[in-house]
Structures are given as C-alpha cells and as structure tokens.
Amino acid sequence: MTAVAQAPAPAPSTDGKDRRNKARPRTVAEWVMLTLAVLGALAIVFPMLLLLLNAFKSPQDYANSGPLELPQALSFEGIRTFWETQNFPRALWNSIFISTMVSIIAVVVSVLNSFAIGIGRVRGRTWIVLVFLMANLVPQEMLFDPLFQLYDDMGLLSNPWSVILTFVVIQSAFGTYLLSSLLGTFPKEILEAASVDGATRWRTLRSVIVPIVRPTLSVLMVFFFIWTWNEFLLPLAFLNTSDSLTVPLLLEQLNGERQTDTTTLIAGTLISIIPTIIFFLIFQRTLTRGITAGAVK
C-alpha cells in the first residue's frame, strides 16, 4: 500500500523505451504494478483460503472460532458428510455432459447462423442480430414458466436435454452476435479466391472460414462451457430428481430452511471447485486468448 502512496500518477510511456535493460532497478511504476498484481492475486486467493481453512473444521470447532482461525484438529466430518449424503460424481457427470453438449452444439449453430448473416449478408441482418440478442436480454424468470410447461408436455423434465436445448439457444444467440460481426469484416479477397477455385458455399465455410476463425471458436466454446456450468435458475426449474442435479444445484441442497450445516457446505464447495480448477488449467491458454476474441489478424 505504501508504494501506491508514493506514486500517485504512474506514467507508463516514459519507461517504455528502456524495457530491455534487465540490469537496471525497477522503476516506481513497476513497483506499483507489482504491488497491485500481488494484492489482486491475494484478493482472488482469499476466498479459497477461507474454504481450505474451514472445510477441515468440525461443526463445533467452526461455531466456536472465527473463520480465519486454524482448525483445532483436522476434521474430515464435513467432507465425509457431503460425500455420503450427496451423489457428487453423478452431479459432476451431469454438469460435464450438459456443459459439453451445449458448448459444442451452440458453437455449430452460431457458425451456421453467422455464416448466413455475416458472409451471406442477408437483408435486414442488423435486425436479425438484434432479435437473436433478445434471447440473451430476456430475463430468465420470464422463461421459467412457459419452458417448464413445454418440457412437461414433451416429457423432458428432469432430463438433461431440457437444459441443453434451452442453453444451446441462449448461448448461440450470443455466439451468433459475436461471430456475425466478426464474419462481417471477413476479407472478401479470401472468399473470392475460394470461389475462383470452384469451392461451394459449404466447402468455403468448412475449409476456409472455420479454420481461420478457429481460435475465436475455441474461446467461444470454453466460455459457453463455463457459463452453462454456472447456470442456476433454469436448471433448478427443469431438473427435479436427485439423479438429474448439476453441481451448483447439488450445493444448493445443502442450504436448510433456517439452518445451514456450514462445514458441510464449505467442504462441498471445496470439492466442487476442484473440477473447475482442472478445467482452467487445461484451457487457460484458450481463456487468455479470449481477450482478443473478435479480432482477425
């Protein structure tokens, strides 16, 4: 914090020239950035630290100590209760299945939609994109009842496909919006070259456009996966049997009407973020590329 006070107005442009000089001491601005980065990292790690500290406390220990104190004795009671009372592997599988299907299907649908809107340049495309975007803008509370009736009639309640269908539509609406503007600026020369070479539309899409925008597509896929993974309200409505729950819904089961078994909830949360961390480690490069999604070289 002291470093922040020392340098109220860092000017990054002045020290940009001698960046290559590794031997020189760090400038004030760099110290500020470093401190800020460390503080930011601490802020992000802090909740996980809380989880780690409290997941291994017994309920009595938790009730009689502050959340920042070390456990008196290592207790696996919370973790055991969570594992024994909740079918976590099943919920994990449900979440993975639903999120994977949504991310794949939604990306395919987005590509097909945006090919028509961005490359095909259909009439009234701005309005079409706007209509698509409505799917994202409509509050999910409004979809709750009509979709519930629909899936009830179709016999899809407590079936993962009810959630998959819903979120393919919602996610691909955003995907269509993003990809349409991206493909709208797609270099004409490449398309013309493809058609001179005798490529059909389908061939152009498959062999020319998709390979070029592939980085963006993989970013979209990862985002769709994460967004669907974290969805709560609509899955809550459609998935009612214990076997069909997703991970966020399973954690919600641990909240009581007036009482919550906090240590079990914390232990459950700790277990349920493990897959998310693994997922992040696998896809972290794709995620960082997400910052530049939408730009073509």
Binding site: A63, F148, N240, Q259, T260
Partner: protein, 440 residues
C-alpha cells in the same frame, strides 16, 4: 418359470394400478372409500419429497415412517430430498407436472401452501382427515396452518395439509455469563431491561439478533404480541379486521426496539448480520441472550460446549410466535394419492412422533410419557406452557408474500437509525396494506 413369474408380477402390478386409479378417482370426491381395503401394494412406488436434513429430528422420524410404510404396504418409497429454497421456487409448477412427487413436505402459511391450495395445485384432504381422524390429534393453534379457504387464507376452509411437528420462539440464555456478572435470569419485562442494562454496564452487548434475516422481525413481533390479545393476532394474520398501525401494540414494538438500539442492548452490527451470524455470537459465548426458535435447539445442544445454556419463554406475554411446522401435502398430479394418505397417517403414529420428540423436535401427536430424554423434555415442557395459554401466534411475515423482506428492511432502518419508530410503523403499514387491503 422365470417368465411366468415376471408375467404374474406384471398382471398383479397392472391390477393394483387399475385399482388405485379407480379408488383415487372417488377418493377425492366422496365418502371414506379412500381407506385401504387390503393393504397390499407390492410393486407400487411412492415418491416422497422433503427438505429436512438426514440428521434432523424430522429426517430421523420420517426415515422410520418410510421403513414402517414399506413394511406394512409392501410398496417401495422413492425418497427425493430437495432444498427449501428450491421447492419454494418451483412447487407451483412442479406439483402440476409429470415430475410431481406423490406426497411432499411444503412450507405452511398463506403466501406458500395457501397459494397452492387456492390455485388447486395441492389436493384437499377432507376425506382423509375424516377417515384417519387426524383432526383429533392436532391441537388448536397447530391446526390453523392445515386449513385454507378459497383465497388461500389459513384458519378455515378445507384441510390441505398435515403438520407433524410444531415450532415456537423463545429466549436462549447463557447461564455462565449471567452467573459471572451476578445477574438474575429475567422473569418479567422490568427485570429483562434491568438485566440488559447490567450487561451493557459491563461492556457486553446483551442481545444478539439479525435484522438481515428473520430474528429481529420475530423479536419485533414478540414485543407487539406482549401488548396484544388474540383478536389483534386474528386481525394481523387472518385479516378479520383492520390492524391499527398507530395502536399500542405496534408502537410499543417499534418504540422499544428503537430504545434498545439506542441503549446499546442491540448492536448496530445487527443490520448486516444473518441469522447464522447472530446464532454464532451466542454459541461463541459473545452474547448472553438470543431470541430465536426451537429449530436452533438441536444445534445448541450439539455446538454449545463451553458453557451451560438455558431456555425460557419471553417474560410477561401470553402470545408467542410459533405455529405448526411444515405440512405434508398431496400434489394434484400425485400418482398415488391413496398411498400418500397412508404414508401421512404413519407419520402421525405414536412411535414416529416419539422419535421426533426424542431427537429434539416438537411432536404434535406424541404421548409425552414416551419421551425420556431430559433435554427434549425441557423443550416440550416449554412448548406445552405456550399451548396451555393458547399462545401460538404464527410469524410476522405471513400476512403478505413479500412482508418478510419488507419487515427486514424496516428493522435495518431502525438499527441504523435511518427511521424513527413512527416512520417505521408508517412504512410497515404501507407494505402491509398494499396487499391486505384487497383481501379484507
């Protein structure tokens, strides 16, 4: 041979199915024909849904009920446990869909079970009440939440649910802290304020509560009740007549809370505390008194390790917040309404009720002599005292579907000093009347 058995089972199952279909058809309309004739339901499945923890008093008792049910009827139970908030959000749709459970626990009160009853999402149980004689087992005050009229207002009309347990709100106190400072446990209202002042003089905040969740709202209601009679409760809860929002009951409640906050009896931190935080302050031994419900009792017995705690009813009051507990309801799409009724009846049996009491719950139909655990006895004694003076007065947030949040926000205003007691009463009146005015 194997095929023949399968075929025979299939025929049996089909027969049983059609039987159920017939009897459930008239079971809802007329007479006592819903009663089990043969009692053999082998091959049938009853889907039971509830949201109580496995280790809670209700969870334990209902597991016993499921065991007995399976043994007696031959049917199997498919138990679906859910969360209170989940079912609260989805019951309106769920109970009217193909995913509906055959019998479910549901939250009592006008805004919840009442609404489901009024919209026809749960079945009336008048015939079952007649067949099984449940009404005789439920005392007055408990049974109010089992009946709803055509507008979904509790207290009259058809039977829609069966409560298995009761609950009420009282004072938990830390005996060691009272002893340490030489303060007497309050027995009347004057001594309550003296005791709180004595704690403040010692630098201890005497009363832990939460304005973000239910505890402070219930304290407010208790203070109003201490000045009220039954007709005020009927006006407030059952809309029998207009509530006087400038009357002595409400003025006393809001005024006293304002005084207590100013005197330091209630911490300013209460506005940001959850019920869990408030309870933890008591369990930690930070605060000597906590006003909350019987649902904390089992937790206190388990988690309070460093001191002796005691329980007592709020001093100087005939009326106490409390009611029957959540109720068993039969959704309109239940595939086994007849089995559902048998199951509900088993939950009212003395064995199940006694286990509920032994485990720290408040049974509605138990023989008190069956309960031997001294801690359980202490709680039931306190509850009986309330019932003897016909004291159960429900909860402050029941009159409107949004009053829970409304009341909490006003309580936060009082704690923060943003509103005076009079302003608080006006705000509460506006919230209350905007919904209730049309129902009167």
């Amino acid at each position: 041979m194997k095929y023949r058995i399968t075929a025979a089972t299939a025929v049996l199952a089909a027969g049983a199915l059609s039987l159920t279909a017939c009897s459930s058809g008239d079971g809802g309309e007329g007479g006592a024909s819903g009663a089990p004739a043969d009692g053999d339901y082998t091959g049938e499945t009853l889907t039971v849904m509830h949201y109580e923890g496995e280790e809670s008093a209700m969870g334990k008792a209902w597991n016993l009920a499921i065991e007995m049910f399976e043994e007696e009827t031959g049917a199997t139970v498919d138990l679906q446990t859910t969360a209170f908030e989940d079912l609260n959000a989805s019951a309106q749709q769920l109970f009217d869909s193909s995913d509906a459970p055959d019998v479910s626990e549901y939250n009592k009160g006008n805004g919840t079970a009442g609404q489901l009853a009024a919209t026809g999402v749960i079945l009336p149980l008048d015939d079952a009440y007649e067949t099984y004689g449940w009404a005789d087992k439920l005392s007055a005050g408990i049974d109010t939440i089992a009946k709803y009229d055509e507008n979904g207002v509790m207290g009259s009309g058809s039977w829609y649910g069966v409560p298995n347990y009761g609950e009420f709100v009282f004072l938990y106190f830390n005996q060691d802290m009272f002893d340490e400072y030489g303060i007497e446990v309050p027995t009347d209202e004057a001594s309550l304020e003296t005791a709180m002042q004595a704690f403040v003089d010692e630098g201890v905040t005497p009363l832990t509560t939460s304005a973000q969740e239910y505890p402070m709202g219930q304290l407010w209601y208790q203070l109003a009740l201490s000045q009220a009679d039954r007709s005020w409760v009927d006006a407030y809860q059952l809309y029998t007549e207009a509530v006087d929002w400038a009357g002595p009951e409400v003025s006393y409640a809001s005024g006293t809370l304002e005084d207590w906050v100013n005197a330091g009896y209630i911490s300013k931190d209460a506005s940001g505390m959850t019920a869990e935080d408030a309870g933890l302050a008591f369990i930690n031994g930070d605060a000597p008194m906590f006003y909350s419900g019987s649902w904390w009792y089992g937790r206190m017995l388990e988690d309070v390790t460093d001191f002796e705690f005691g329980i007592t009813n709020w001093p100087d009051t005939t009326l106490t917040p409390g009611s029957g507990g959540n109720i068993w309801v039969v959704p309109v799409e239940s595939k086994q309404p007849e089995l559902a009724e048998i199951f509900i009846d088993i939950t009212m049996r003395p064995e199940v009720q006694a286990l509920l009491g032994e485990s720290g719950g408040l049974p509605v139909a138990a023989d008190t002599a069956d309960i031997t655990d001294p801690d359980a006895q202490k709680l039931i004694e306190l509850f009986n005292e309330v019932n003897d003076r016909d004291g159960l007065s429900f909860y402050p947030d029941w009159p409107t579907p949004t009053f829970y949040g409304d009341l909490n926000s006003v309580m936060q205003g009082i704690v923060n000093g943003d509103v005076t007691a009079d302003e608080a009463n006006t705000q509460l009146m506006d919230y209350y009347e905007s919904y209730v005015a049309d129902l009167r």
